[in-house]
Symmetry: C2
Subunit: 312 residues, 2 copies
């Protein structure tokens, strides 16, 4: 198989675009798709300071790499969840990557700041680990971006992530979540950082190929807590649909975005509704629609229920 | 495994309802679900004359059987598509079933009235067979119900049919089709019969079990044209999701219906929009939103392009 652009040996076929690329043209393609997402969706400009949430996996480290290649100013933020060997390895990958390239790295350590790792915290509050993890990461991503004065927080979510999340939300008609599925969530006066997903136009396998071709040393293992997760099932199902009809994921997620845009003209979005009732959490000052923010509620419960020393 | 109602030997486990039924209780359950659909969705009353579109398969013959058990007045309508042995067998099943129970049966024969079977017609107009078949069946179902003075046309679509169609429409965000996915389409002054799906609360395997238990002799083979059809792939995917999380199909389709109902309060549905522009087709008098109805367009094209004698 030959590259459709330069006739070199191809390393990846991309059926949804009826094309195939060599190493160099694949890198160009991935960077061009990210650049297109950033400019078309008005995510950020060259003068902005971007904080990239990194996990040590292929998507977030590739995102950092791509942003630097494109000439953006991007630093890294890592949340150490304290999941034994998995966290040790992923943190090491992040530290190696940022050190080798002279990228500023901020770290939030759960065991130090919340007094326990994610598994212990989830046990303490009797909630599923992935749900507690989501709450904590969203909280610290936002808080760190705002407190350190970054213009925008970027995550490495790709097309597969977004399409599988959409499938899950659509199967249960989670209208509230559907309204927050876009690749850009605007900043709010109340203290929400702007959040963007520059890789939403790229499939998981395209980014995996980018990472390998560009010799990015990432953690290959999935988080041990994700075993049997619904998202993996949804990804698997979308991969089956994609192999039968290349372009399905893209049509599904992009079609949804187009529909949301059309709908937004006739009715206020949930995001608008939220902003109408946002106020600072009385405990931590972060924005919330509830009386106390979900992070502080979680930590209060962990402190109350738990035998472990949980700091606030 | 024992029946959860009467402790007889169970013939079917129904995980989404956390239950299992014996022959008698399964029949009661299926009839109760159909009755609930008919009354809650205001489909029809005991005094109404119902025309059931039958294919010879388990769903439509079970529907006829259920409606009679429940005391409704229901006749049968069969479209002979002229698909060789498949049509001969399915027609024989319909004729045996209706004759044995003294049910009035109306038949429309494509080879006689349109001058060719469905495969030849699809070839003549260069369109996919399943698409031409859909146009022709919808046309004749409606026309026959209206011309023979039936109050309502009922089809045997079950939960699997509706959920897989919904999945296909959602994957491509076919908004126009999404608006017509409900179990009831109202009649219109312009000549559309009311159309209902009394089995929409029942899964395919529940109706298959009902048909077997009630000794309904139906055609087991799928239509030979449906091989590789997208709907079968979607059904397969939904079955996988259902086996991982019983209740997924139901939550998906019923949740969609609830959302549509909520949305309808804030904006006119596509059905309302359609009714604003409906007028009689100048060729056949049936209602259409286009200049000529899709059936007459199709037949005109078949007549023009084809060497076969196609009657209008």
């Amino acid at each position: 198989m030959r590259c459709r652009k330069c006739r070199e040996r191809a390393v990846l076929e991309i059926p949804r675009h009826h094309t195939a690329f060599c190493k160099t043209c694949l890198t160009d393609f991935v960077c061009a798709q990210a650049e297109r997402a950033i400019t078309e969706e008005k995510m950020f400009a060259k003068a902005d300071h971007v904080l990239v949430a990194v996990s040590g996996g292929k998507d977030s480290l590739s995102l950092l790499d791509i942003l630097h290649k494109l000439g953006y100013q991007a630093d890294a933020f890592y949340v150490d969840l304290g999941i034994g060997e998995y966290s040790r390895q992923s943190r090491a990958k992040v530290e190696q990557f940022t050190k080798a390239r002279g990228v500023a790295l901020h770290i939030h350590e759960l065991k130090e700041d919340e007094g326990a790792g994610i598994n212990e915290l989830a046990d303490l509050v009797h909630r599923p680990t992935c749900s507690v993890c989501g709450t904590l990461k969203r909280y610290h991503f936002n808080r760190t971006a705002v407190e350190l004065g970054y213009h925008v927080l970027a995550t490495g979510h790709n097309l597969d992530d977004e399409a599988s999340r959409l499938l899950g939300n659509v199967l249960h008609w989670q209208t509230e979540y559907l309204d927050k599925q876009g690749p850009v969530l605007p900043a709010s006066m109340e203290g929400f950082a702007k959040k963007v997903k520059p890789l939403f136009r790229l499939a998981e396998r395209e980014i995996a190929a980018y990472a390998i071709v560009n010799r990015i040393d990432y953690i290959v293992e999935e988080c041990p807590n994700s075993k049997g997760a619904k998202m993996l099932l949804y990804k698997d199902i979308l991969n089956r649909l994609e192999s039968e009809s290349p372009g399905t994921k893209q049509a599904f997620y992009w079609g949804f975005l187009a529909k949301q845009e059309a709908d937004a003209k006739t009715r206020p979005s949930m995001t608008d509704n939220d902003q109408a009732v946002l106020h600072p959490c009385p405990t931590c000052g972060q924005p919330t629609t509830a009386e106390t923010c979900s992070y502080c509620k979680l930590m209060a419960r962990a402190k109350k229920d738990g035998p472990a020393p949980v700091r606030m």
